[in-house]
């Protein structure tokens, strides 16, 4: 409120000084500096786009309406609001350096003068001639360039005294809290930049917000906030690439980085949130053996399971029987079909970084599962026949427990959705638990079936040295049951549907690429809807 009052008073004072004194000054060249425009530019550069826009519009309208009749009404309002908005968008330059900020202010004022001159020339027909504009415009630009640093400096100092934050973290949609990126990314960015250099730039600002200069300012911040889901995903991916943080638990970057982007190395303390990366060269392909060389300094990586939908479908079609080989498989047999809706073991999972070092993890697993075949053997060992999980061990971990499969010989199916664990209390928390109580590792076993008839549950198993301690976490069950999803239909196009809210144009689904064929009679969409409805009705009481 105090800032608003001070800014309004300063703009009014600038307007009156301009109209009563400055415009009457017989300076050489026949032009005068524009104090009002300088104040609008300074407002935009210190307070952001919205404040610059509003200040520019109001000040321009006041200039238009003030008693010495200045041509067409609205010309100055149009030019000043555009200049104020653009200066707000370029607010990050105040953090870069004072010289850059003053250069920006001078350029913005020149742009404003040119805009006003063009509008006046084009619209104000009996107004100033082209010759007079051509003679006066360079002079006014020169005087503006002389006046703008003074005004900007005074304005910035006053804003810093009033406690205006110059942090561009708030400006950048890429690191918006709760926006396109997760709060963890914001935290990582802030931590990283602070750790790198407490005051990288902006020492000329008095406030202490200069330390939060954001390293990812280049990510789409000129594009504004992401509108579509695709843009939001893209921005989140870019942010994850730049910050080294994951925008979502379990998500990771597959493929090459977009060109021109430089990875910001994550801070030392955020080493745990490193991207899970595929390390195909770290293990022996086709075997359960990890690399021979251990990486001592690296913490155990997060297991990432890969799976393919085609594989899943094939398995569903084949309908294999239940093979009970482990205690959890036996448990699954008791409970009926597993969480993939089929009887038998679940998907094979490939733990990344789950190593086969002969360590406590192996011993533990052996003891827990009671099987002869160890989950992670060194390459030299003979492989036991049958019931062996062919794994692709990416990287070398600290002997993590790995899930096992009961059907031998089938190739592991990589799955490019980073795990089924979508909830925060999945492997994410389990990992912390293992780190704290010194257990050997953890595995998110996909082969364990719990919860009859539950589809796509997040499962996590935590193993400790004292034995199998924690059961799987059937998280997300309640939410899935309480909020039945819409029936999935085909999406015609990936474009944004702006008119999707109209009843005639609304289409269900838009999340799946699977065609919905048939009607209620043939067991198509209608049947699915009826099923959803009945499920909802059951859930209500």
């Amino acid at each position: 409120m105090a800032r608003l009052l001070v800014a309004t008073a300063a703009l009014a004072a600038a307007l009156l000084a301009q109209l009563t004194i400055v415009n009457g000054l017989p300076l050489p060249g026949g032009a005068v500096p524009d104090l009002v425009l300088a104040c609008v530019v300074a407002t935009g550069l210190t307070a952001g786009p919205r404040a610059g826009l509003v200040a520019g519009f109001c000040a321009g309208l006041a200039v238009d309406l003030a008693p010495p009749d200045t041509g067409l009404l609205g010309v100055y309002a149009l030019a000043f609001c555009l200049v104020g908005y653009l200066c707000g968008r370029l607010r990050a330059v105040t953090l870069a350096s004072a010289g850059l900020a003053m250069l920006t202010a001078a350029c913005a004022m020149a742009a404003g003068e040119v805009m006003v001159a063009c509008l006046t020339l084009a619209l104000d027909t009996p107004g100033p001639t082209l010759a007079s504009v051509a003679t006066a415009l360079p002079w006014s630009v020169l005087y503006d360039a002389m006046a703008s640093p003074v005004v900007l400096l005074v304005w910035v100092r006053a804003a810093a005294l009033l406690g205006v934050s110059f942090s561009t973290v708030d400006d950048t949609p890429a690191v918006e809290a709760g926006g396109s990126a997760a709060p963890s990314a914001v935290a990582a960015v802030r931590r990283g930049t602070r750790g790198a250099s407490p005051h990288p730039a902006g020492g000329w600002l008095v406030g202490d917000g200069a330390g939060e200069a954001v390293a990812v300012g280049a990510v789409g911040w000129l594009d504004g906030p992401p509108r579509s889901r695709r843009a939001r995903r893209h921005l989140a991916r870019l942010t994850a690439t730049l910050t080294g943080a994951s925008p979502r638990a379990g998500a990771f970057w597959v493929g090459s980085r977009p060109p021109g982007l430089v990875t910001v190395p994550p801070a030392a303390e955020s080493a745990q949130s490193r991207l899970a990366r595929l390390r195909p060269d770290a293990g022996t392909a086709g075997s359960a053996a990890p690399a021979a060389r251990p990486a001592p300094g690296r913490p155990p990586a997060k297991p990432v399971r890969l799976g393919l939908a085609g594989e899943q479908r094939r398995r569903m079609r084949s309908g294999r029987g239940l093979a009970s080989a482990g205690p959890r498989d036996r448990e699954a047999g008791q409970h009926g079909p597993d969480r993939h809706g089929m009887r038998g073991p679940g998907l094979p999972s490939i733990p990344f970084g789950a190593g086969g070092q002969a360590g406590p993890g192996d011993a533990l697993w052996r003891r827990v599962t009671g099987r002869s075949g160890s989950a992670g053997d060194l390459p030299g060992r003979p492989r036991p026949a049958g019931n062996e999980a062919p794994r692709i061990a990416f990287g070398s971990g600290g002997g993590l427990a790995v899930p096992h499969r009961t059907s031998p010989g089938r190739p592991a199916a990589p799955r490019f959705r980073a795990g089924l664990a979508r909830s925060a209390s999945g492997p994410w928390l389990a990992r912390r638990g293992t780190a704290s109580d010194g257990t050997a590792g953890f595995g998110s076993a996909a082969g364990d079936g719990h919860g009859p008839g539950l589809a796509r549950l997040a499962g996590g198993v935590r193993l400790s040295a004292r034995g199998l301690r924690a059961a799987s976490i059937t998280h997300g069950t309640a939410s899935r049951q309480g909020r039945p999803r819409r029936a999935k239909t085909a999406r015609m196009s990936s474009r944004r549907r702006s008119l999707g809210w109209l009843p005639g144009l609304r289409r269900a689904g838009d999340r799946s690429a699977v065609w919905r064929i048939g009607s209620a009679r043939t067991g198509g969409a209608g049947a699915m809807r009826a099923r959803v409805r009945s499920a909802r009705a059951e859930g209500k009481p």
Partner: protein
């Protein structure tokens, strides 16, 4: 403050609003909405300007008088100006200068038989606009399309009036056209403003129907308008500086310098009643004697004696001396 959807919405609203205002004002400049908005703003901002200028006017007048004369050439004249400025440092001296202007204004009005309302300039137009604000409004009997004069000659015409202030379009504005008569013969022509020049207002363009009558040093007075609006007859306008003769042109063209400096306007008079009979050329200052120099550009000095300057640029920069 983040650039959010709300900011985009505000931006589009502001753009649409300003474009709409431009469109409304462009299509119908005297629409009631625009007029009432301008009236309200004139009441509020005009009062504020008035209050500010009562404080800052002596300072601004001091600087203006100092800067207006700074275009002078020789060291002797600079020394004279310095002495004059030092002498004007006291407020009593400043008010006496104002008094002198007022006396000259009233003398001119008396010669022409005009009834004037004295007012002082409290605001100047923004950017390239050639407008000023006076501290007299409709409560003082000011109406639009009244002639504004000062002690030297024509200033402009009133184009907008609010209760306490009025806006004057200067004669040097490009949109201002003044009908004139040449002094000795009474040939009819018109003078168009030239906008702002590098130093003060640029020279005005004169077009006369009879090209043969044009000669440097010719004096111009306003011709009578219909019902004496916007210009009453007989007000001195300026003097012809140079003649641009074009061979096949139907009208004779010349450049005119105003008698009024316009850069250091202070006390002006608004003619609220035209003279009973046309003063013809009686208000004009004495005609300067023609000089034998090849490029004669005679200008009247402050004492209105014939003292032609040999250098046109110097004369144009100085204008008629106002603080001698």
């Amino acid at each position: 403050m983040r650039d959010t959807r709300l900011t985009r919405l505000l931006l589009s609203v502001a753009l649409v609003a300003s474009l709409g205002l431009i469109a409304v004002d462009y299509s119908d400049g005297s629409s009631s909405m625009v007029r009432s908005a301008r009236n309200a703003a004139g009441t509020i901002l005009g009062g504020a300007e008035r209050a500010v200028s009562t404080v800052t006017a002596p300072v601004g007048r001091f600087f203006a008088s100092g800067l207006a004369g700074s275009g002078g050439g020789s060291a002797a004249s600079l020394r004279r100006q310095l002495a004059a400025m030092r002498a004007e440092l006291s407020a009593a001296r400043l008010s006496r200068a104002q008094y002198g202007q007022l006396r000259r204004l009233l003398g001119e009005a008396g010669r022409g038989g005009y009834r004037v309302v004295a007012a002082s300039v409290i605001g100047y137009g923004q950017g390239l606009q050639q407008t000023v604000t006076l501290d007299a409004g409709s409560t003082a009997g000011i109406r639009p399309q009244m002639t504004v004069i000062d002690g030297d000659g024509l200033v402009g015409q009133v184009i907008a009036v609010s209760p306490a202030t009025c806006t004057v379009l200067l004669a040097s504005a490009p949109s201002s056209v003044v009908g004139v008569r040449l002094a000795p013969g009474g040939q009819i022509g018109w003078v168009t403003g030239g906008g702002r020049g590098p130093s003060g207002p640029a020279l005005l363009r004169l077009q006369v129907l009879d090209p043969a009558a044009l000669a440097p040093g010719e004096q111009l007075v306003t011709a009578a308008s219909v019902r004496d609006r916007p210009f009453v007859p007989g007000v001195p306008v300026g003097v012809v500086v140079s003649v641009r003769s074009r061979g096949a042109a139907l009208t004779g063209q010349a450049l005119v310098r105003l008698y009024t400096g316009l850069t250091a306007l202070d006390v002006v008079g608004i003619v609220i009643a035209p003279p009973v009979r046309n003063p013809r050329f009686s208000v004009l200052p004495p005609r300067p004697k023609p000089t034998p120099t090849p490029t004669p550009t005679p200008t009247p000095s402050s004492s209105r004696s014939a003292s032609p300057h040999a250098h046109p640029a110097t004369a144009a920069g100085q204008g008629p001396g106002r603080h001698g």
